[in-house]
Amino acid sequence: MRSAYLETLYELAGKDKNVYAIISDNGAIVYDKYRQDFPDQFINAGISEANMVAMAAGMAERGKIPFAYTIGAFLAYRAYEFILNDVCMMNKNVKMVGIGEGCSYSLLGASHHTIFDLAVLRPLPNLTILSPASPMEVKKSVQAAYKINGPVYIRIGTNREPEIYDTDYDFAVGKGIKLRQGTDIALITTGSIAYDVLKAADELEKQGISACVINIHTIKPFDEDIVIRSCVETGNVCVVEEHSVIGGLGSAVAEVVARNNIYVKFTGIGLYDFVHGYGKHDELKKDNGLGIDAIVDACKMVVRG
């Protein structure tokens, strides 16, 4: 995902001199090509996320299009009040790119896990929140963010996420995508864990449960229609997210369900409190109740329980 982001940013910077890559001293090697070819459109703001975000807002005031990039946790928590006051309140054309979604920095621990970002950023006015599921979707998200004249947060993983799309497809901000048809349960997900969710749906198929998979790549504005439709069509819903179960996609889906008086059996799986332990990303997800087996079990409980 990180390579996909940088390739897209590289293309944008080549086409538009107002595009700037801004970092907070991270991305040592990955930015080399960009830095070499666009030295005037690259700023290392130093290890100071708050200043980076508000400074980017000032650049946007002068017509620049800054892409401020650092670990999502540092953006969303440390610079939060700057995102609120300097970017969202003034509706500035700043793109904030948070890397390391969920617990993908699986060896680094709780300080680097980005599992509360959606919860804290969802309420912010004027902010578009994109949470792409694969490298191809990262490209489309970054291109879409560039076209939006306003604040955007893009949540991406690291560099090992598999592609989930076989062919090119239409990406529209605010419109969820049905990745897989199914009639018994709707699996609603966001981000790179969509790959695991598709695997879980295959496994469910073998066990006689037909699951559709909905990819919500835009957390805000939220595609209520696709959620309502899939809930009504299947009567069962399981939200899967690599984020805290409080305040993220599950909460957003529950809000839609409750507001629209939809009768649906609901379950959501995600992360609780701090992610415990260290290891490979897949192992860590599994160890924290977010493995493919856990998704399969949760769906069976809902459909058959």
């Binding site: 005037d40 700023i43 703001a45 130093g46 100071s48 708050a50 200043n51 975000v53 508000a54 400074m55 980017a56 807002a57 000032g58 650049m59 946007a60 005031e61 002068r62 017509g63 620049k64 800054p66 009040e81 700057f82 006051n85 300097d86 309140m89 003034m90 509706n91």
Partner: protein
């Protein structure tokens, strides 16, 4: 008209209007606005800041970012006198339906460049503007006014480092050094004084001035009093020694007046010292927003 008035008269006018607005709204930061009134007067009415009141977003303008957003009463009056918006709008201050509150809000009030009020934001924002201007080889200047207490925010020093490292010589920081913060004197709360030394050690050129001496303010704002002549590659810091509450004797240097409105007895003294009458305050009521609509 206004340009022909002596600078002292304009500053007095601003202080008078601030009192009227605060009395009419029943709130507002009078004393923090009075310490910076003379600085704002110099910026807007002595050919320092380039602006076009009829076209607030004029591309050739200089920027004034009020980072201590609670001083916005002084800025509102200056902007209104300069022609950015009407006297009626000025007098809508603090009323339901008005865009003018006790902290600065951009986008809805012409001439207000940044939404501030939460402290420690404006300098970073100003750095972004200054950097973008330099990238485009433009000569617009960026002024940012900080509170002295505001400098306790860590983000200020993130921005100071950034400005010096990036050689933002189009940026001038003004510290409204009135020696008081909300609850007490700065020195009793946090030892962050010797501002000019601190800014110099971070790579700024810095001068100390009397923040109520118009000639000193003007020279410093124009960059005349700094050690290195232009074009140097350092950002500038003006440490403006000011008096919180300047203009009304009982408010001066008294912390409680950070956010307080005079009672009837105090008001009599205030009016006298600002060369006003009760009728002048009546003017406020007549023009107040609720009577306009």
């Amino acid at each position: 008209m206004i340009k022909e008035m002596p600078i002292e008269s304009i500053a007095l006018k601003i202080r008078q209007e601030i009192l009227k607005m605060a009395m009419g709204a029943g709130g507002g930061h009078i004393a923090p606005s009075y310490s910076m009134t003379d600085i704002v007067t110099e910026l807007y009415f002595d050919n320092v800041l380039k602006y076009d009141a009829a076209n607030p977003k004029w591309d050739g303008r200089d920027y004034f970012i009020l980072s201590k957003g609670h001083g916005v009463l002084a800025l509102y009056v200056a902007l209104s006198i300069a022609g950015f918006f009407s006297k009626e709008q000025l007098y809508s201050f603090g009323k339901i339906g008005s865009d003018l509150g006790s902290l600065a809000r951009a986008n809805s009030v012409p001439g207000i460049e940044a939404s501030t009020g939460s402290l420690g934001h404006g300098l970073s924002y100003a750095c972004g503007i200054a950097l973008a201007l330099k990238k485009d080889n433009l000569t617009n200047k960026v002024y940012v006014l900080l509170g002295d207490g505001e400098c306790e925010e860590g983000s200020i020093w993130e921005a100071v480092m950034f400005a010096a490292h990036n050689k933002l010589n189009n940026l001038t920081v003004i510290v409204d050094y009135n020696k008081l913060q909300a609850m007490d004197s700065i020195k009793n709360i946090m030892s962050i004084e010797n501002f000019s030394d601190r800014f110099r050690s971070f790579g700024f050129d810095a001068v100390d001035i009397d923040g109520h001496d118009y000639a000193e303010i003007r020279s410093a704002l124009l960059g005349d009093t700094f050690i290195s002549p232009e074009p140097i590659d350092k950002p500038k810091a003006i440490i403006a020694h000011t008096v919180k509450g300047k203009g009304i004797s009982f408010m001066e240097n008294v912390p409680i007046w950070h956010y307080r409105i005079p009672n009837d007895d105090e008001l009599k003294i205030a009016l006298q010292e600002l060369k006003m009458t009760k009728e002048d305050l009546g003017d406020y009521e007549r023009l107040s927003y609720r009577n306009v609509i």
